[in-house]
């Protein structure tokens, strides 16, 4: 009875001596928080605050003499959503994003399947080739396409010399040129998720389907593709979101002749100084993108459940 309380007394005494002030007690228990604190402060100041600032901006009254007038309104949103011009650009941007995503899917799937199943010793090299559009700057990539596709570029020079089309082909400053640039840079975002999805499929399943008499094509369409749907879904979402918000490629390869929503938004914000209206338009684009991604996830989710 007289011995038992001692350890408690000792432990209590040291912890009070070491801890002291309640703030210090809390810090000691959560010292690991210090690891993430700098990042949290950084993102709070330079990611969350700027976006909140922009959201507030989109509800401010427009002004002709300064960037905004006092007071708040939803007029920027109603104006954008009732103007046929902006709606048409929005629809065009979304349609363009869908087509780009579909083309990426068709090109990426065979590449991903090959890379997942090949036993070549150049595997690592092929992997770097797939990543290469991401590793090289956007200006350099576009410059390469400009050399090829411009009105006096390599392809048009060749076409003119061969007499196929005396005035050359319109390969740039239109949807075709921008589409090529976008498919090229976003292809890795489609290949990588599909690649990891295919890698997680046991090759024995394919062997089983084949040995049960299914043709190669049937095995592909009934076994491999359904099992890799999660990868296709992830890749499609990434490519779609990136495409509808792409800015630099439409500017470089489309000049100002092929207008997408993001180029329009930046033009309004930077050149025309219409900050409230431009901010509203930016959020309308983001919200439409998010809504389409949500519908896409619901639709494909049902499809995947049906197959499983």
């Amino acid at each position: 009875m007289t011995v038992a309380p001692r350890p408690f007394a000792v432990r209590g005494a040291t912890s009070i001596r070491a801890a002291g002030h309640p703030v210090r007690v809390w810090l000691r228990a959560n010292a690991a928080l210090l690891l993430v604190l700098p990042t949290l402060v950084f993102l709070g100041c330079f990611l969350v605050a700027p976006y909140v600032d922009m959201l507030v901006m989109s509800f401010r009254n427009p002004s002709t003499t300064s960037v905004f007038a006092p007071g708040y309104t939803v007029g920027n949103y109603t104006r954008a959503l009732t103007d046929p011009f902006y709606l048409a650009v929005l629809a065009k941007t979304i349609a363009f994003g869908a087509v780009t995503t579909a083309i990426c899917m068709v090109i990426a799937y065979p590449v991903a399947y090959h890379l997942a199943r090949t036993r070549s010793r150049f595997r690592g090299l092929l992997y770097v080739c797939v990543l290469s559009p991401l590793l090289v700057g956007v200006v350099v990539r576009c410059y390469g396409w400009i050399i090829l596709l411009a009105n006096n570029g390599l392809i048009n020079n060749a076409v003119k010399k061969l007499g196929l089309a005396p005035h050359g082909l319109p390969l740039m400053y239109n949807a075709f040129g921008v589409g090529i640039g976008l498919v090229h840079v976003f292809l890795p975002f489609m290949v990588l998720p599909i690649l990891s999805a295919i890698q997680s499929i046991d090759p024995a399943l394919e062997d089983a389907a084949r040995s049960l008499g299914a043709s190669r094509a049937r095995t592909m369409f009934r076994v491999v593709i359904p099992l890799s749907l999660p990868g296709i879904q992830a890749g499609a979402i990434l490519v779609f979101v990136l495409t509808i918000s792409a800015y630099v490629i439409p500017v470089l390869l489309g000049a100002l002749k092929f207008k997408m929503m993001s180029t329009l938004v930046i033009q309004l914000l930077i050149d025309a100084f219409l900050w409230p209206f431009g901010a509203a338009l930016a959020f309308i684009l983001s919200a439409s993108g998010a809504a389409i991604v949500y519908l896409f996830i619901r639709a494909t989710g049902r499809l995947m459940k049906g197959m499983a």
Partner: protein
């Protein structure tokens, strides 16, 4: 023999042909830029008019290009250090200690990667103006760190998820302090993630365009911006030489990554 077997299966030939065409498409613009930079002629024509290094000479003698190359390298190095420090520490917390907050924190830190780069840049520009920070080197660094931070974070956290914590427990039970355990056990084990994340941050910062375009002040031309200006007005192959040098710098970083940690560590 192998070819014979291959031709017996037209589907396989079609498949491989398609895959090869896709790789050609992926590498085409880069190959064209590199080839054009060695072309002797004034204009970009095909077939090339002989080999020459004159456009490289033109590049190395051009003060604006050399100044911007130097500025870009300095900026990318600084951004690499900052992003790696922030990203590594944050990854350690998120994977080890975050508990129920893990997914929220992950989403927040990866956020700049999911949000449109140009929109983040515009939001930052407005924000810096409203707090009176303006277009300074600091603003540019903040923009670059914001975009590159997710890469460093993802690279380190993917290593941490496959980390055997019993090694740390062993060190601690053998009497090592927390800091010694971190220095001698944790750090060497997460090194591949830290290095590949840092090098990736360097590459991304070196090539960043939209953020630099909106946040740069006067005299803060990075190499991609200088290149963009040049391509807008001139059509001579100096731009191709600049592009090739910039591709070479990226390639050196990729090779460094491969030699130091292997490209396999680039799993997200």
């Amino acid at each position: 023999m192998r070819l014979n077997r291959l031709w017996a299966r037209p589907g396989r030939v079609l498949f491989l042909g398609f895959v090869i065409a896709a790789y050609v498409f992926l590498l085409l613009p880069l190959a064209i830029v590199v080839l054009a930079s060695f072309n002797a002629g004034e204009l970009l024509t095909f077939p090339p008019q002989g080999l020459s290094l004159r456009w490289y000479l033109h590049f190395f003698n051009s003060t604006p290009f050399m100044v911007s190359l130097y500025f870009s390298l300095k900026l990318a190095a600084g951004v690499m250090v900052l992003s790696t420090l922030l990203g590594t520490a944050a990854a350690l917390y998120v994977v080890r200690f975050a508990g129920k907050w893990r997914d929220v924190l992950r989403l927040l830190i990866v956020g700049p990667l999911l949000l449109p780069e140009v929109l983040s840049a515009v939001a930052l520009l407005f924000f810096f103006y409203s707090i009176g920070f303006g277009k300074t080197v600091g603003a540019l660094v903040v923009g670059h760190v914001l975009i590159t931070l997710p890469f460093a974070f993802l690279a380190v956290s993917s290593v941490l998820y496959n980390f055997d914590t019993s090694l740390e427990d062993a060190a601690r039970s053998l009497g090592a302090g927390k800091f010694t355990t971190f220095r001698r056990i944790t750090l060497p084990l997460i090194k591949p993630g830290v290095i590949s994340g840092g090098l990736l941050a360097f590459i991304v910062s070196f090539d960043l365009f939209a953020v630099s375009l909106l946040l740069k002040g006067i005299g803060m031309e990075t190499l991609p911006i200088q290149l963009f200006d040049y391509v807008t007005w001139d059509f001579d192959p100096t731009a191709a030489a600049v592009s090739t040098v910039s591709i070479a710098i990226t390639l050196i970083m990729v090779l460094l990554m491969e030699r130091m940690v292997g490209l396999r560590s680039l799993r997200f």
